[in-house]
């Protein structure tokens, strides 16, 4: 080994040690995820209850993650998830609500919808559907009916049935803090 090569290797080794020491001395800043406009709209309008990643308490709040896409298996299911009161009457614009619905169904909701070639919602479709929010009493019973049709027609995941099957304690009604 020539002296020049030995010096070069030694200087590289020293640089590596210095870099390692610097890395140990300066603690890494915790990573904060950057959210897209659609994610912000989902989180501030839906994600508190449905969960940041679409999973929350499944008996109290329907799970979205890997499940919501299944509703697009039937025409009734496709309309149902837009006509739900908190969706239809949300403060989001038609355009942003459409983006959120497509993100929930195709990204958060898993490959169930996309795999069957379901088409994305259009702004006109969402605008029309949200003008007819579901108002019947017994919304949970109606959901069971919609899910039963989805299950009869497609290979729907079992998790679709969990919501409404049995309520846990403490979900009867919200009460103000003292």
């Amino acid at each position: 080994m020539s002296i020049r090569l030995a010096l070069a290797l030694a200087s590289c080794a020293l640089a590596g040690v210095a870099a390692g020491a610097a890395g140990a001395a300066v603690p890494a800043k915790p990573a904060v995820s950057r959210l897209t406009a659609v994610q912000v709209a989902y989180l501030t309008s839906c994600g508190g209850c449905h969960g940041v990643e679409g999973s929350s308490a499944p008996h109290a709040v329907p799970t979205l993650r890997h499940l919501t896409g299944s509703f697009l298996c039937t025409r009734q299911g496709r309309q149902f998830i837009v006509r739900l009161p908190d969706v239809a009457l949300s403060s989001l614009s038609d355009r942003m609500l459409t983006r959120v619905m497509n993100w929930v169904v195709f990204d958060l909701g898993g490959p169930a919808a996309a795999g069957r070639g379901a088409r994305p919602y259009t702004v006109a479709e969402v605008a029309r559907l949200r003008r007819e929010p579901l108002t019947q009493t017994g919304l949970t019973a109606y959901r069971e009916q919609v899910v039963a049709h989805v299950e009869a027609r497609c290979a729907a995941p079992a998790g679709l049935n969990v919501y409404g099957a049995a309520y846990g304690p403490g979900v009867k009604s919200p009460s103000p803090k003292g």
Binding site: V32, L35, S56, A60, V61, P169, P174, G178
Partner: protein, 181 residues
């Protein structure tokens, strides 16, 4: 009565100027004036009004302008811009963990707060810890982005213990969800 002779007056003024100033001097002064003009405010009234408009729309919220970023046991810590309840940081827990003996609720409401260190908005999940007697330390009430009770999804006065075993309220966390901008 002698009439005002404008022609004569103009001629005398022009001749006097011509006698004192050279053409080069006049051109140099005119050039300097043209170059310097943009440095001065040409429309002082309009600029004053623009300044007023900028002052009337300060950045952030009243809370964020007075917020701090070092003490998470004080109500004016930046993440608490929409919190209502006892700070878990004062109850044996932290901003993102429940005190021993209490259970984090899987549901929450999500608001956004501005971090004064970088002037950016971050989403914050206000998640309650439930199933233990109320802590009653560091009780705070801030209302940025909180909505009235008829919009319960974003109401901070509701006990957010949906989905837990007990509805007994203990304290509130402020979990950082992500950067909104």
């Amino acid at each position: 009565m002698k009439r005002l002779d404008v022609d004569n007056l103009g001629e005398r003024l022009t001749r006097r100027l011509a006698g004192r100033l050279s053409r080069r001097s006049a051109l140099a002064r005119l050039g300097a004036l043209l170059v310097a003009a943009p440095a001065f405010p040409l429309l002082p009234v309009q600029r004053a009004r623009a300044a007023d408009a900028a002052q009337s729309k300060p950045k952030g919220t009243d809370f964020s302008r007075a917020a701090q970023t070092h003490d998470d046991k004080a109500c004016n810590y930046w993440r608490y811009c929409g919190i209502d309840g006892n700070l878990c940081s004062c109850c044996g827990g932290s901003m993102h963990s429940c005190p021993p003996g209490s259970q984090p609720s899987p549901t929450s409401w999500i608001g956004s707060c501005i971090n004064p260190d970088d002037d950016r908005a971050y989403l914050i999940a206000y998640r309650d810890c439930c199933g233990a007697k109320e802590c009653n330390h560091c009780s705070c009430l801030n209302t940025d982005h909180a909505m009235p009770i008829y919009r319960p999804q974003a109401n901070n006065h509701v006990i957010w213990c949906f989905g837990t075993q007990s509805f007994e309220y203990h304290c509130s966390m402020a979990v950082l969800v992500g950067l909104a901008q």
